[in-house]
Structures are given as structure tokens and as C-alpha cells.
Subunit: 348 residues, 2 copies
């Protein structure tokens, strides 16, 4: 990774997000990646530390919407101002990633770029690093490489990547097809099949390969980004709101995948966060729980006592308190929606 010359690896961290699933710990101005959901550090700090194992700070970039810029800088003091790429407004991952890649390409046209979310948990950082290295090797040969998480359950919440051949650790294989989020029966078949990996939104490619495919598959994004970088007012807002999968990857040539077995978790709800906190021994902590197995308390503001309430998550913040059944963790959004209806934007 130390080859800072031709095809040196740059890392782009994606720091957007809306912050509804983890309300009230997360807010519009403090989405999920700023929370210590996996352990003791905010997820974005862990993402930075992983990136630092891949490249020096001078080759680390973050793309974030303007309202989060201050929080990003506070969380990542090593990040240089010129490598914080601001999305003028949220237009999904297609334009955001295109903007970041084009920004890198302006200073390092030969760069290999790894693109990673900042709101996931990865337990085995060494395994992650090995997979990225394999992806970098394939990217240098021109492929657009996904990291595909090897499934351990028939998840219905993720898209899948169908590999052309059974994926082997440390080696890129071609992707045959991007697959939509499946129903459970289909997800079970994918799990049994062995050739399906979760699409976790992690990519490695050269700037050149990506921008060539972007131009071909999503020319409106390519144009909007180029004009925006040239200072054209209003150019950004003409980029269609598309994910990078829809905009580029599903139509691109030379798409490959490297399997990732690194204890990846997207921490999709308070239930998932509760699972991680239990694993980290943070479930109840210094609080009190009587007849309340499986319950988790988030917040150290004051003592919380649970009596006879199993499998709940309690989230204690300065201005809002949430008590949610782990089985209904997805419905936190409904509470946030209710607040919005009541005009309580101060709490969002």
C-alpha cells in the first residue's frame, strides 16, 4: 500500500445519512455514523482508523453534506480541509461518489480509490484490509470492484451480488448480476447457493475506470459533477438522484467482487445496535435491570432502572427519551414521523 506513485490508493469515506432509525441518539445533524453503536467510538472514527491502515492521512477523503461538515471535522481532526468534499445538497450516492472520485482525480488522476461507508461495523479489521488489498489489485487491472459480504443468514434487507463463480477469499471474481432485495424464500436460496454476496456499498476502482463508466452509464451525473467542479452555479442540482448501483455499477463493464468475511454489520436498527452492545458487554452497564433480559440502555446521563421489561432498548438523551421493543425497532421511524407532524423539528 505504500506505493504513493502511480495507482496509489486513496480512500473516500461517505458521511451522509438522515438519522431517523437511531433517534433520539441520532438527529438530522448527527446521523448514525457519529454514534458509538458498535462499541466505545463513533462509527466514523472506526472507519477512519480502518482507512488509515490502507493509506496515509494525505490520501484520505470524506464526502459529506454541508450541514455535517463541522461534525465531520470535529470527529476526524486528521482530515485536511481540502479533502473534505461537500455535497451541496443530498442527491444519493451516485452524484456524491462521482463528485468525490472526480475531486480525487483532479489531484491524482492515476489513483486507485476505495469508497467506504462510515456507518457500518467491521469486527475483523485485518480481514477487511486483506480484502481491500485483493480488490486494489483487481482494480489496478481495470475492474470496478465491489466488496461483497458473505451472508450468514437469509437477510431480506440487502441487495445481493451474484458471482460468476463461487467467490474465494482474497481473489476478485466477475459479477454476473446485481440482485434486488429478495423475499425470504429467495434469500434462503441465495444463502444456500454460495455464489451470492451482500452488496455492502464498498467499492474499489481506478478513477479512470470509474469516470469512464460514469460517462457511459450516467452522463447527466458526469456532466453535473464536472460543471459543479468548474464552479457552475446550479449544476449540481441537475444531477439525477440515483444510487451508485443504479447509476453505474449495474450497467458497468468489468465489474468484479471480492468476498469479505470480516464481521460486517450495517447496524440497521436499535435491535442490531442492541445485539452489538450485548456482545461488547455494554447492555445494561452501570444501570439496574430486574427481570429484564435482553434489554439494553444507551446513555450514561443518569441511572436507569428496568423492572420486568425484557428485550427493550432505552435511549436516554438530554431532550428526548425512547423506549422501544427490540422486535419493533423499525417503527422508531414512525415516532420520528409523528414528531415531524407535530412540528417538533427541534427534536429531529
Amino acid at each position: 500500500m505504500a506505493d504513493a506513485g502511480r495507482h496509489a490508493l486513496h480512500v473516500v469515506l461517505l458521511a451522509g445519512g438522515s438519522g431517523t432509525r437511531f433517534w433520539p441518539a441520532s438527529r438530522v445533524r448527527r446521523p448514525k455514523q457519529f454514534l458509538a453503536l458498535g462499541g466505545r467510538r463513533p462509527l466514523i472514527e472506526d472507519a477512519w482508523r480502518r482507512a488509515r491502515r490502507l493509506a496515509p492521512a494525505e490520501r484520505l477523503w470524506v464526502v459529506a453534506p454541508r450541514p455535517l461538515a463541522r461534525s465531520v471535522r470535529a470527529a476526524l481532526p486528521e482530515l485536511a480541509a481540502e479533502r473534505l468534499v461537500i455535497e451541496p445538497s443530498p442527491r444519493d450516492t451516485g452524484p456524491a461518489i462521482a463528485l468525490a472520485v472526480a475531486s480525487v482525480a483532479r489531484v491524482a488522476p492515476q489513483a486507485v480509490i476505495g469508497v467506504f461507508p462510515t456507518d457500518h461495523v467491521i469486527v475483523d479489521v485485518s480481514a477487511f484490509t486483506r480484502s481491500v488489498r485483493a480488490a486494489v489489485a483487481a482494480a489496478r487491472d481495470g475492474a470496478l470492484v465491489c466488496l461483497g459480504v458473505r451472508p450468514d443468514r437469509p437477510a431480506t434487507g440487502f441487495g445481493y451480488l451474484l458471482c460468476a463463480e463461487p467467490p474465494i477469499a482474497g481473489r476478485a471474481v466477475p459479477v454476473s448480476r446485481f440482485v434486488e432485495k429478495p423475499v425470504l424464500s429467495r434469500a434462503r436460496r441465495y444463502l444456500a447457493d454460495g455464489r451470492y454476496l451482500w452488496n455492502a456499498g464498498m467499492f474499489v476502482w481506478t478513477a479512470q475506470s470509474f469516470l469512464a463508466e460514469l460517462q457511459r452509464t450516467a452522463p447527466e451525473i458526469d456532466t453535473a459533477v464536472s460543471r459543479h467542479l468548474s464552479g457552475a452555479r446550479g449544476a449540481w442540482e441537475r444531477a439525477p438522484k440515483l444510487s451508485v448501483d443504479y447509476a453505474v455499477m449495474e450497467h458497468a463493464r468489468g465489474v468484479a467482487v471480492v468476498a469479505l468475511d470480516a464481521g460486517w454489520d450495517d447496524v440497521g436498527s436499535w435491535d442490531a445496535a442492541a445485539r452489538l452492545r450485548e456482545a461488547a458487554g455494554l447492555a445494561v452497564g452501570t444501570h439496574i435491570a430486574i427481570d429484564s433480559p435482553g434489554s439494553v440502555i444507551v446513555g450514561e446521563r443518569r441511572i436507569v432502572a428496568l423492572v420486568g421489561v425484557p428485550d427493550v432498548v432505552v435511549v436516554d438523551t438530554a431532550d428526548a427519551l425512547l423506549v422501544v421493543s427490540r422486535a419493533q425497532a423499525e417503527s422508531v421511524r414512525a415516532a420520528v414521523e409523528e414528531l415531524r407532524k407535530r412540528g417538533r423539528d427541534d427534536l429531529l
Copy 2:
């Protein structure tokens, strides 16, 4: 009630208590009667208002342990300092009531005295007033009169009074027997029988009748109280710790009972408080509840959102938060006990 002369009615309100069942809203220094469990006012204020319908403020007394004196005065600004009787240390209701009665007798030896707890809810104050008037009439004839609550369910948490004849509204009948807290099958028989009333700890008697029976049935208490009132150091601590039922009423002569049908509730736990708050329309209030029927939020410090947690009580205070299943409301004591074990007396 306006006869301020011979046998004028004085009221003694009992304001002791430990404050564990309603933790964290109640504390050692703020037991249950200082909470607005039944509606919008602290229970002790409602008790004072009921008493004011029976007698003018100049004939209203409160007996309380020293650590609660300040809270009592703050809650009851009409209470004159000389009618706040301080228990030097808690020795159960026998000595406390004896001390209060003896204190009243010093200034009004001919008084009729009504003794009432301050931590109960009474919905129908007019019915209460009528029952007290009937009790006062019987007391003037020399009886020691209990107010007995007509049961509406086979409660196992109260003692019962067996009436010598079926109790009729507005008329005192002799008590045949004091009955211990029964098991459920027995409580069902009591309910069906019609002659059993709950012993709610409310009494009316003349000072003379009570003190005569006290001297006969519990001379150690009588002596301790007399000597304490004469200024003898350490006298109080020699009074045996006994309830007024054990010390006097179960052995006294001329004990009668007036039935009370006034929506009495002793508010024995957070579950009972939740029931009252639901009835008062205070269950969730300005908070948010999604898929959480039967749940109640106590505290207006900040917004509380409940998602998928039916039948819980959430009690939100500055330094402690409780989430308790209504079915396990009795176990709040275990949480308090755990705090005590951990040396967190600051939270008790």
C-alpha cells in the same frame, strides 16, 4: 361541623412514609403523599382540601417525621407551625397517632378527632364528608369509629373489618372483629358476605375515648407519649413500634365502623397510579406512543417516545429513570434495594 365548642372536630393528617414503591418519583425525603398520583395535585394537598371541608384550618393538624417537616409546610401553607406535630423518629402509626391525639387534647380536651392518611385517593369527596359526619356523631357517643371501605374486589392487600351487622350508609355499626390480610379464596368469601369492609386506616374518636383505651391497651405508648410531651429526653424511643390497629383498635371497647363508598384508592404501586392516570386522561399526554396501549408516562421534563411497549410505566426524573412493567410494579422495591446495596443513597 361548625360547632367549635364542646366536641368540635379536629382533623389529624398522617404524613409519614418511606417512598420506595414510587421510586424514582418518590424519595426518602419525598414519599408518596407529595406526588400527584391521582391527578394534578399532590395527594397531601387533596387530603388537606378534604379536611378543610370538615373543619377550619385552626383545627387541622399534621403529624410527620422531622425530615419531612419542610416539605409538609411547603405543601400546606395554611398549616400553622404549632399544629405540625413532629415524630422524633418513626415508630409506626400507634405512637404517631397517640402523640397527635395527645397534642390535640392539650389544647382541646373535649375534641372529636378524625385521623386520616394523606397518601390515598378519594374520588367522591361529598360521600367522604357524609361518612365522616356519621362517624363524628357516633364518636360523640363514645365509640372509636373506623371508616371502612366497601370492597369492590377480593383484595388481598388490606386487612378487613367484620361488621356485627350489614353496614348501612351513614350509620355506624359495631365491629365484631379485625381480620388480617386474607388469601384470595377467603377474600372472595368476604366480598360475597357483605359484612366485611377494608380497614383503610381512617378513624374518628374523641380524644378522651381514644386516650382511655390507649392507656388500657398500650400503656407503654401512653407513657412514652406523655413523658415526651413533658420534655423527657429519650421517652419517645421507649414507645413500642406498633400500628394503631395492633396497639389499640383490635383490643379496644366500643369500636364501630361507618361504611365508605367514595372511590377510595390506596394507590399501592405504579400499576395503581397508572390506572388513575389513565382515568384522569394523563396516560401519555403530550408524549408519543406507538403500539404501546396501557402505557403511562410520568414526568414532563422532555418528550418520551414509546414504541411497541404496552403496559409499562415510565417515570422520568432529573437523576433517575424507571421503566417498569405494570404487572411487576411491586418489584420496584427490588430496584430500590439494589441501589441501597450499591451505596447510591443519593438516589433514594
